[in-house]
Each structure stands twice: as C-alpha cells, then as structure tokens.
Assembly symmetry: C2
Homo-oligomer: 321 residues x 2
Amino acid sequence: MAVYTDVTAEDLANFLTRYDIGELLSYKGIAEGVENSNFLVHTSTGTFILTLYEKRVAEGDLPFFLALMEHLAARGITCPQPVKNKEGGMLGRVAGKPAAIVTFLDGLWIRRPNPGHCAALGEALARLHVAGADFPMRRANALSIDNWRPLYEHARPRGDSVQPGLCGEIAKELDALERAWPRALPAGVIHADLFPDNVFFLGNRLSGLIDFYFACTDTLAYDVAICLNAWCFEPDHAYNITKGRALLKAYAKVRALSAEERDALPVLARGAAMRFLLTRLVDWLAVPNGALVKPKDPLEYFRKLRFHRSVRSAADYGFDA
Amino acid sequence: MAVYTDVTAEDLANFLTRYDIGELLSYKGIAEGVENSNFLVHTSTGTFILTLYEKRVAEGDLPFFLALMEHLAARGITCPQPVKNKEGGMLGRVAGKPAAIVTFLDGLWIRRPNPGHCAALGEALARLHVAGADFPMRRANALSIDNWRPLYEHARPRGDSVQPGLCGEIAKELDALERAWPRALPAGVIHADLFPDNVFFLGNRLSGLIDFYFACTDTLAYDVAICLNAWCFEPDHAYNITKGRALLKAYAKVRALSAEERDALPVLARGAAMRFLLTRLVDWLAVPNGALVKPKDPLEYFRKLRFHRSVRSAADYGFDA
C-alpha cells in the first residue's frame, strides 16, 4: 500500500495546467507500488497515473526510467507512456516531490499464472530485451551481485533470528556466486522486477508491463532467471517445469538464448533468488514489531535458492535444446 | 489509507458475473475511507466503486445504508448509487466480506473551503434532510450523546497523557451536555459525517456527497452543527462567521430552522465537537507508538469545544434572524 504524500486538489489542478490533458475531474491515491505514491487521475480527456517519486527512488535515475518507457512504447511494448507537458518535459514537481504523469493501462494481474501466462510473459520479456537494444542511456543495476554482500552484512547481525543458520548458508552461497558469476554474457536493458503484479492481462492476452523503476543495464539472461523465480514456482515452492518450459520456449522464439546464456541459467537463477532473499531479509528486519504492513517473506526465496542449487543444467528448468 | 482485504482478479471477475456491468478491465485499491476497503473498478461499461465492509461496520446496518443511498439518489441527491445484481440484490460477498458496488462520482474535495463552498454544502445538507423525510427505515445513531460517556470512560485511564487536565474538562462538559441536550427537535435521516472529504466539487459546483456509513436517524439540526464544526473553522481553530453565515443561510433557503432548532444550535455544536473529540481521543490512544498511520488530532476538537462554550446564541454562528 503506498500513498506517502498527500496531494491537494488545488496543487494537482495547478500542476495539470502545464499539460494538455484537460480538466481534473477526480483523483484517488492507489494502493500500488512500494517505492512511490501513485494516484489514478480522471481528466476530461481520459485516465492517467500520477506518480510522486519518494526518497527510495534516486531523482537522478528518473530521466532513465521515463525515457526508457517512452522508447519501449514507441517500439510497440505496451507499457505506461510518460505524458509530456507543454514544454516537452516529462518530469515536474507536486507537493515538493518529483512527479510524472503516465498513461493508464487497463488489465489485471494474475495471482496463479498458468503455463499460458508464462508463455505470454516469456514472449513479452524477449520483446522488451529486443526493443531495448538501441536504447542509448545506461543505468547500473543497484541490486547486482556487487551489492549483495553489503546487503548481507547489513542483515547479518539479526539475520539468524528469521531462521537459525540462515546467515551461514547465505555467506557460503555468496562466496560461490561471486566465484561463478558470468560477466561476459549479452547485456542490455532489463526490467529486473517483472513479477506477476507488474504484468497485466485481459483474458489470456498480456495487455501491459508496468513498474520500470528497477530497470537497468545488466545481463539479459539474468532477467530471464528473475522471471523463472517469480513465475514458475508453485505456492508450495516446488518448481513447475511445464511453466518454465513455456516461458523459455516463448522467449527463445523472439530472442534465442546462446549456449553460454543457457549454461549460465542455473547460476543466474541462484543469483536472482539471492537478490530477492537479501532485499526481503533487510526489509523484514527493518519493520518494527506490530507494524500494520507485513513485509514479504524472505524464506520463500531461501527455499527457491536451495532448489536452484540442486539443478544440474538448464534442462532442469525446461530448456529444450 | 484503507485496503484491509486483498481481492484477487479471479474473485472479483467471478463476483461481477452476477452483475450486468460488463467485463472487468482493471481495479485498484484506493486510499479512501477509514472503515472499509475500497476499489476503483473499470469495466467495459464504466467506472464503479467496490466496497468491502470490514468489521467496524455492522453487517446488519448495511441494508439501511444501501437503501438510503438508493432513496436519496432517486430524489436527485448526487450520491453513490448501489448497483443491483441480476437478482435485484445490492449486497454480496467478496473475499469473505460483505460487499457492494456503487456508481463512481467524479469530483474533488476541497481542503480549504471558502464561503461559496460552505453555502453549497449548506444547501446540499438541507436537500438531503428533505429528501430523507420519507425514508422508511430507521437506524439509531451509534455515536449519539448516550454513547459519549462510555467512550469517555474508555479513554479516561490514559486521556490526560494527551493533555493534562483533559479528562476533567471532558467530564464537566459531559455533565452539562447531558443536562442541556434537546430531545424533542425535528429528527430524520442525517449524514452525521459530512466533512469536506465527503463532499465533491467540480469547479465551484457541488458534484456529490459520499460515505453514508455513519448515516442514521437523529436530530436534523445536529447534522447542521456537525457541519459548522467541520467546515467553518480556520486552520488556526478560529471560527469564521462568514462561512457559518453562508452555510446557515443556504440551508435555511431549502429547509427553515425553527426557533427551537436555532436556540439549540450552541449546545448541538458543543455536542458535535464532543463526539469528534471523543472518537478521535479513543483512536489516538489505540494507536501503538511508531505506527505508520497517524490518527487525527483530538485536541482540534477540544479547541472547538471551548469556542462553542463561549457562544451566547446562534447569532454568534452567523445565524440571521
């Protein structure tokens, strides 16, 4: 749930005079996104999303995110499209916060994706990677392997309170990942957070991708590995190879994975599980007892990590040669 | 901020098959209302609000609220109109909670109402009272004067931690109110919570009244007194008689206040201030230290109460004979 900043009708109406999107008719703070405040805005010309960027998003990164959405939308990726103001800018300020208006996308996110949804996701991910190939800006991944050890050190003093022995296992795994991490695979724009709640469907048709605020320049196959983690496990934490096969096959139809990328899939999947394990662990430890907002369970990704350690090759994910 | 219950797309789409309002296109939890979970729902036929009634709203009261909104809407009051399902019912269940769909109203609420807004509010309040005159159902006010002493007793053990001496002043005031409270004034349907955030405007035109979940059968002039408290004080807690005059004059054009109602206005305004002081005090004391949600300041209404005690007659509120 996320509305951190109160926006008055007067402030918002005033902000909108700088745009050509009509009169303000209504706006509602919406419970979406964890990093920013989001408002659904009705004007006399349509429906839009107003996002206020809160302190967890670096203001210097905003031009990258907004230009990327514009770049992808221009290449046929259905994603929120930043609306330009009368001076051609995409970024303004509301209530003292950096703010942007993007187009609204209809669609629903799927709580229990089936193999058909996973295939649609795989295809969309590959199309995103292809469309991003000529995007000229770069942004380092702030949650790449180089950032995991500092996260671990931050969590270490109380990490074992979540599960005895957790920190020891993470430390060993970090050593292994740092030794084995592939550094020369094809890189480009990755979404880096393409979980089911960031992918909209209308019926069985994928209707949009949202939330590009972790997007960065990194290994493309790592983005695939993130999606295998996010889409292809069952509620009991078992990997569903039918879903994995559907995802990988649909991806490969649009963008073939090289032999090097294929062989790296198990270590990339371990790394992706480690990234979400660590950020969730840090968030978990940061929340005071009795708080209203319950953070996501870090141990879900610990269990996924253990699965990935048992994998022998990409075939175990459903990769067909 | 209020989304207490998670609703899946699958559950909601299934629920909507019982209605004739088209296909589900999107829905967003919105940060509106304190008692319930609210979702803005887009379907192929329009925009609606889905409300899930949480435990603070008594399920037995829902037929009253829904029938009242339907009754008022049929008499030209712009308020959310319950949408009937295919069997003609207005109440269903989503995610295990009682749920209803109502029409969506465009409009913005005004943070700093001017006398023009107060006049529009006064007129709308009187029209609501008139339109409610033939509403056949009754609901006792669960926050009437009879309920204030139990609220006070609940807050008393820690009440003075909010301000030294607070409980002593409340106790004296309760004694005085219980002695002086008028019991024979004209009664009917009152909104009972018509604060600025429950009143929408488009430009200077009042475009809708929302949130009828405190509505009940009680003294009509008490509803006027609630609005004087909610609309006619400045941020520095000074009463603005120009706003009060505008509100009362516009009200009286639609529904004249009798001499008895006029004379009771000061004690009714004291009572209204007491009601919000007490509920805010209880909420304030119930919230754990360090919680994310900050409750509303009870002392705002303590200051208003002191003003009302200094009032000699309705003329001090701007009532023109």
